[in-house]
């Protein structure tokens, strides 16, 4: 069985109106998988099912051979917005998962500072979230998700609200961090080039169904300049075309 195994998962908020249908998806350990699709196609719902925040109506999700029935500290979650607690300093925000599991001690503070340095915010530990820019807040959110050293990181369009340059920087840092630590990632985005740059595998979702899986055969670690090469852009545009086909098939149907 794969590290993350999603088997025939269907989820519906209302009876007979499934948001996601018959999703099966395997993610091997240490791989970076992305899910792309239009807004409202069920991406976030699938992520929440994997996180254990939602219980699937049908089907099962397992992470390292354990069925997911509730959230676990083994799984880190990065939300669409940074969701930092404004009344806590940057360091306290990062240590929050440990404070809640009552593991916070001086060693953990060291670990917190280390992770802060890894996301490039070494000098900001005593700042408050409102003093940070959007990109810095996203970095804190990622650091908070990494502090428990999760085996699986779930990310829900974490960079959607950032400008192109900041987004690029964060993508590079995220990819390097996960590559170094061997973290398995399930990443949601609607940005095709972001998905291609970061991922080993991309699933295309349309109307609650995964319509296609594409594996990205570009060696890691990847340099930033590959984004501007022609085969990279060709790949992006072919994915774009496939998604367009889904949409036009719908209109004909």
């Amino acid at each position: 069985m794969h590290f993350v195994s999603i088997k025939d998962v269907t989820f519906s908020y209302k009876i007979d109106q499934p948001v996601i249908k018959n999703i099966s998806w395997d993610i091997p350990k240490g791989e970076f998988h992305s899910l792309i699709g239009r807004s409202g196609c069920g991406k976030t719902t699938l992520l929440k099912v994997v996180a254990g925040l939602l219980t699937p109506t049908i089907g099962k999700v397992s992470i390292s051979n354990t069925y997911v029935s509730q959230p676990s500290l083994q799984t880190g979650f990065v939300f669409q917005s940074p969701t930092l607690l404004e009344w806590l300093s940057v360091l306290d925000n990062i240590l929050l998962p440990l404070t809640i599991s009552r593991e916070s001690n001086s060693e953990q503070i060291e670990l917190g500072l280390e992770i802060l340095a890894a996301v490039g915010l070494k000098d900001f530990s005593h700042h408050y979230p409102t003093e940070l820019s959007g990109g810095q807040q996203s970095r804190v959110a990622i650091a908070r998700a990494l502090i428990t050293e999760p085996v699986l990181l779930l990310m829900d369009e974490p960079f959607a609200a950032l400008d192109a340059m900041t987004r690029e920087e964060l993508q590079i840092d995220l990819m390097n961090l996960c590559y170094r630590k061997g973290t398995t990632v399930l990443f949601i985005t609607h940005d095709i080039s972001e998905a291609v740059y970061l991922s080993d595998n991309i699933a295309l979702m349309h109307n609650g169904i995964i319509r296609k899986n594409i594996s990205i055969e570009i060696a890691k670690p990847r340099e930033n300049k590959i984004r501007y090469q022609s085969d990279f852009n060709l790949l992006c545009s072919s994915i774009h075309q496939i998604m367009q086909t889904f949409h036009s098939q719908d209109e004909i149907g």
Binding site: K48, A51, L53, P71, S72, L73, T75, F77, F79, Q80, S81, T83, L85, E86, W87, L88, S89, L96, P97, T99, I100, S101, H127, Y128, P129, T130, E131, L132, S133
Partner: protein
């Protein structure tokens, strides 16, 4: 600079009022001159006659505020944690709040007698609702993602309450306290109209009996200062409690 203009405006209005009293020959029973009011105020403060009343009203207001606010916040927390309790009790709470509390004064006098207890209870009842309402609102509007974050981290209900709900609701709760402070002064003074033998409200009624308008105006001034002082104390307390919330606001990046 604006303060100086405000002060000049005050002096100008007082002068106008003083001149009006001189030239219109209005009876001092109807409208006492500012100089007469100032004299009564000075005498009342220097010979100590007014201090006991100031003290009693302040104590009633403080006790009423503390009791009303504590119960308001506690009830708000209980109702926000228990949906069933909220749907069960809400119509009754609402009905009890729609009744003007001062209309209950006479029955409180029968139950608790004339004096401080009745006034404190009226004040506390007036302060209760803004705190209940604001606590519920502050906790209700916590973004879903923050709640989900706490679920992801495996927080217990108590941890979520202490580490997320209360700090997140605090600014709204404290806004309720500011409303309650203003209402508490009304509660204490009007409570004394009904049941007091001492206190500023009771003194206004006594002054009315003696047709002493200058004393009434002097008390209005004192009440205004008490209100401002309580409001100021609340603002300082609020700033202290929200020092972390506001930490980055003043030098936030655009």
């Amino acid at each position: 600079m604006n303060r100086i203009y405000s002060l000049i405006l005050l002096l100008f209005l007082l002068t106008l009022w003083e001149i009006f009293c001189w030239i219109s020959f209005t009876s001092s029973l109807v409208l006492p001159a500012p100089s007469a009011v100032a004299l009564v105020l000075w005498d009342g403060l220097t010979d100590g006659y007014l201090w006991i009343h100031i003290w009693i009203t302040s104590v009633e207001m403080t006790l009423g505020l503390l009791i009303g606010c504590s119960f308001g916040v506690l009830s708000g927390l209980c109702l926000s944690e228990n949906k069933f309790l909220k749907s069960l009790l809400w119509p009754y709470i609402l009905a009890s709040q729609v009744i003007p509390k001062l209309a209950l004064g006479p029955i409180f006098i029968i139950w608790f007698g004339f004096g401080m207890t009745s006034t404190v209870i009226i004040t506390a009842l007036i302060c209760f609702f803004p705190l209940l309402e604001n606590t519920l609102t502050g906790i209700h509007y916590i973004p879903r993602e923050k709640r989900e974050l706490f679920r992801m981290l495996g927080a217990t209900r108590l941890q979520t309450l202490i580490k997320l709900k209360i700090p997140h609701g605090l600014p709204t709760i404290l806004a309720g306290v500011r409303v309650a402070v203003v209402l508490a002064l009304v509660g204490a003074v009007v409570g004394e109209f009904l049941s007091g033998q001492v206190g500023l409200g009771a003194t206004i009624i006594a002054a009315q009996g003696m047709m002493d308008s200058a004393l009434m105006f002097a008390i209005f001034i004192i009440i205004t200062f008490i209100g401002l002082a309580f409001y100021q104390i609340t603002s300082i307390l609020e700033r202290w409690l929200l020092r972390r919330h506001n930490a980055g606001v003043f030098n936030a990046k655009p």
